[in-house]
Amino acid sequence: MSHYPGAGPAVHDPMTLPSDDNVNAYTFCVELKGSQWFLQKGKMIAYYGSMEFNGIGHGRLDRLVRTSFHSPLHASDWVVAEGSGKMLLADRAFDVNSYDLEDGNLTIRSGNLLAFQPSLTLKQSIVPGFLTLIGTGKFVAASNGPVVFMEPPIRVDPQALVGWADCPSPCHHYDHGYMTGVMGGLRALTGLGGASGEEHQFEFAGAGTVLLQSSETLMAEQATGTPPPDAGVPGSGGVRTGSSQAAGTPRLPGQLGDLQRRFGL
């Protein structure tokens, strides 16, 4: 009864499960020894030992919002796991990986971040839809396909971007010559003459690391909360200064400039 040879995949018990490492490409095991971890709601799939899962932001956990969540606006999407034992994390059968930050910073797409150690602090990035982790510790992120690390200078496809570490925020890059002018407008509108779908990229410069996933399927976005509606805060819906091209205007991926500009008018 205790042995099932040839029962397919390896059988795990608390002794053989890794500590803070991957079980397979899609499952990550966290060991808790009276410590805490933050995880996104509903990503725990199983655990050995005794653990408690509590929403952040009430009672004795209120303190955590101050020390680790500097943006209380999305704290309700997070859960504190505490206790002792081993816990398995997974997210919709996506690839998961852990990363170590040492006195560093990393900005990541909000839907990709799964869990992190409380020694890290989580803040909203000024890029809407992204979160920034600062400090020293381990975090777990999901991606659609394995993650590739690249060094700037680099231009990346917006859908493949998972996050970036230690380098300044990216900027948009448009293949201007190809897109503008009468021919460019016709190409973009009709698809004739080759709209490659790659006329728009994110450009990274400076020193650091850029994390890419090996597919262009985005993961569902997790709400990061809306920043206060002050003037000059991107994504806040506040008073905008400057042109209508300000961030936060929803645009379809292929729709890059206004029509008049396309046709060079």
Binding site: M1, D13, P14, K41, G42, K43, I45, N54, A93, V96
Partner: protein
């Protein structure tokens, strides 16, 4: 005779014997094969009526012949389970194929089934032989023993085998009602001696957002 061609394709080598497989899951075969639909999963009239009543319908075909037959279903990951007189409990939608010699049936799961969003009943497979079950992403097999009970999220549970007692745990508090729950309001606790299969993905359950 069951082997994995790769993690998503099951190959079964047959020499005149038979397997039961999910209807329409054959992707290729060589040799001589005959496919026969089995009404009621080969459980007889009583089994057929039970399945209809419990909502654990499964349409099964019997494959018999000489050669190799390959099975797959919607690119799900496949896990092989060897049964030695014990019972495998699995959702009918996660069962791909079984040896023809294994008996299948339905059983009442109670609250656990309700929390999984799969209904109150589940499928049992018992006897001596092999079965193939499917999961969304590579499944993790966890051993439960007397000193190590296991707690599982209902949405990630796929199957279990062995001599296990399960109990339903609810972490619903007044905070859950206020929308400040821990996201893991319902859990299944396994105690005893056996194996539990979990998948790295959660089905949508009523507890998913609580």
């Amino acid at each position: 005779m069951f082997r994995l061609q790769d993690s998503k394709v099951l190959a079964v080598d047959m020499t005149g014997d038979a397997v039961k497989a999910k209807n329409g899951s054959m992707v290729a075969y060589d040799g001589q094969m005959a496919f026969k639909k089995m009404s009621g999963g080969g459980e007889g009239l009583r089994g057929m009526v039970t399945r209809r009543l419990t909502g654990e319908q499964m349409t099964v075909m019997e494959v018999k012949g000489h050669g190799t037959c390959w099975f797959a279903d919607r690119a799900s990951e496949i896990n092989l389970v060897t049964l030695r007189g014990d019972t495998l409990y699995v959702e009918s939608s996660n069962l791909l194929a079984t040896d023809a010699g294994l008996r299948t049936g339905t059983t009442f799961t109670g609250l656990r089934g309700a929390s999984q969003g799969n209904g109150l009943f589940t499928t049992t497979v018992e006897g001596h032989g092999q079965a193939a079950i499917m999961s969304d992403g590579q499944a993790v097999v966890l051993r439960v023993s007397a000193q190590y009970p296991l707690t599982v999220d209902p949405g990630a549970y796929v199957a279990h085998q062995g001599n296990l007692r399960q109990s339903f745990q609810s972490g619903v508090t007044f905070r859950t009602l206020l929308g400040e729950g821990g996201g893991e309001a319902f859990q299944i606790r396994f105690e005893g001696d056996g194996l539990v299969y979990v998948q790295p993905s959660e089905r949508n359950t009523i507890a998913g957002d609580v």
